[in-house]
């Protein structure tokens, strides 16, 4: 065998192995999705959206309470986390730039991004739930918002920095004050990127269970009271899945399916927006 032939064989072996690895890695994803779709669609019915939780064995049981609770928790977290994240990102990109303070904030934010979510839950439990004396939707939403902030802060910072400096200078050269330059020119230029960051941030926290376990806790009944424990899809799924009752387990599958589709949808929309923004 000549040296060249040897190299061709090695090349083919390497190619085969890496292709196989990629197929194995991806097959898990499709396996998960496949099981989820099969079990989830099986468990899905209109009654899920109409009825709230009930003790095992009852016919009229559903997930309305958890669906609405989930939307309230994630919505509230978005309302708290998105403005804070965007404003902090704006500070870093437009004011802090390369200062020591800005770098420190970036580093801390990156560390926060990888903080175990249960630790954030414990923190909120200590500073909000304990003083208040009871679980609440507020506590759950704040825990989720804390997880969301570093993601949105980072993408906002990155996306704003992609806006060319000459565009800022051009706006200044027309006599624009700094806040106008940021709102009219910089935000506009980075619109698609910021929106994508927000959607990915929401998608990231929407599937969290740990931060909610001892903040918003759970409830088997429908509620919109933000000062009370609030059911969520994730914690409900956890409780139903570990229960020994067949009908609860079915509801658990339905919850898993709905949650996954919601997060998958957010991710796809986020990526599409970014793609459309790049193509322009």
């Amino acid at each position: 065998m000549t040296a060249v032939q040897k190299r061709i064989v090695i090349n083919k072996i390497a190619l085969a192995f890496s292709t196989l690895s990629a197929v194995i890695a991806l097959s898990f994803l499709f396996w998960i999705l496949g099981v989820l779709v099969m079990k989830g669609l099986d468990a899905l019915s209109w009654s899920i959206f109409i009825y709230e939780g009930s003790p095992p064995g009852y016919a009229d049981s559903g997930l309305k309470h958890a669906l609405v609770g989930q939307l309230i928790l994630v919505g509230l977290a978005t309302v708290i986390g998105v403005p804070l994240g965007i404003m902090a990102g704006t500070y870093l990109s437009e004011y802090g730039k390369n200062s020591k303070l800005a770098h420190t904030i970036r580093d801390i934010s990156d560390i926060m991004m990888s903080a175990p979510s249960i630790v954030i839950g414990a923190f909120v439990y200590a500073v909000i739930v304990m003083p208040m004396g009871h679980f609440s939707a507020w506590a759950g939403a704040i825990a989720l918002a804390i997880m969301m902030i570093p993601i949105i802060l980072r993408t906002t910072d990155d996306m704003l920095q992609l806006v060319p400096g000459t565009l800022r200078e051009a706006a200044f050269a027309l006599g624009a004050p700094k806040y106008k330059v940021i709102i009219d020119v910089v935000y506009r230029g980075a619109k698609a990127g910021i929106l994508t960051g927000v959607l990915l941030g929401i998608a990231r926290v929407a599937g969290e269970t740990a931060p909610l376990l001892f903040t918003s806790f759970n409830d088997n009944f429908f509620t919109t009271d933000l000062n009370q424990a609030m059911p969520s899809l994730t914690v409900t799924m956890f409780n139903y899945a570990i229960s020994p009752y067949d009908d609860w387990q079915q509801l658990g599958w339905a919850a898993a399916f709905i949650l996954s589709m919601f997060i998958l949808g957010l991710n796809i929309i986020g990526r599409l927006i970014l793609l459309a923004g790049k193509r322009k």
């Binding site: 060319p164 051009a170 200044f172 027309l174 009219d184």
Partner: protein
């Protein structure tokens, strides 16, 4: 020593003993620059890269203030006051002294909104007035015919040359006294360059123009006065024709004949 022509006509700007030092730099980038800028005329600044011509240009609208730590010394007189005064109102100054950049800087908004941007900053909200002035600015920038049927379209859909004329329209819409051009055609093709040069010459009826260029032919074609800069000094300022035909300084002659650059 430098040879600076006496300008008989009225001056738009007077630079006197101007030193400029970038943040952290050990020595000034501009050294004791003194030069008059004639009103309603075109003054070109030429010189090799790093000679300070863009640095000087960006001092006229205090662009250097966007990056803290830079230091001005000396005087630039405009409308009877020293615009290097720390108390100078920069927002007002920049509406009086506009700037066109090397690369077109169309904002991510419609063509109409781009041109209206400066006027809206000044608080003009009346739709009829805005419409009229946007149209006039676009006509003056010789781009109205090409864009009149798509004013609401995204400005980034225009070609480079069109975007540059749009930027000129945007700058003249606020009726400045002085326009600064920082190598406005270096990113454009020859046809677009010709269009911009023609436009610059037409504009001097209304504004005083300072143009930085790498291209000596361009300076010769468009300007009335030319300043040659080298290593932070203004070596010579003269009538364009005289400077290119009979330069007074040896350095100028060497540069324009291509001995260095």
């Amino acid at each position: 020593m430098a040879s600076i022509i006496d300008i008989k006509e009225e001056c738009a700007l007077q630079v006197r003993n101007f030193d400029f030092t970038y943040k952290g730099a050990p020595a000034p980038s501009l050294k004791k620059v003194t030069m008059p800028i004639a009103k309603n005329a075109i003054t070109a600044l030429i010189g090799p890269s790093g000679c300070g011509k863009t640095t000087l240009l960006r001092a006229f609208n205090r662009m250097h203030d966007l990056y803290p730590g830079n230091k001005y010394e000396g005087e630039i007189e405009f409308e009877g006051r020293n615009i290097l005064d720390p108390k100078e109102d920069l927002i007002h100054l920049r509406t009086k002294i506009g700037m066109i950049f090397q690369k077109p800087t169309a904002f991510p908004m419609s063509i109409y909104d781009n041109v209206a941007y400066g006027m809206r900053l000044q608080g003009i909200k009346n739709k009829t007035e805005l419409d009229g002035r946007v149209e006039k600015a676009l006509q003056d920038a010789a781009i109205w015919k090409e864009v009149s049927d798509r004013l609401k379209h995204d400005a980034n859909g225009l070609s480079g040359g069109q975007q540059q004329r749009l930027c000129i329209a945007r700058a003249i819409a606020v009726e400045p006294e002085v326009l600064l051009f920082d190598e406005p055609t270096s990113a454009l093709d020859p046809i677009s360059t010709q269009g911009i040069e023609k436009l610059v010459i037409e504009l001097k009826e209304r504004v005083s123009i300072i143009i930085v260029t790498h291209n000596m032919q361009q300076a010769a074609r468009v300007s009335d006065y030319t300043g040659f800069m080298y290593l932070g000094d203004l070596v010579e300022l003269g009538n364009t024709e005289e400077l290119f035909v009979t330069p007074k300084e040896k350095l100028t002659q060497e540069y324009i004949t291509g001995k260095f650059g």
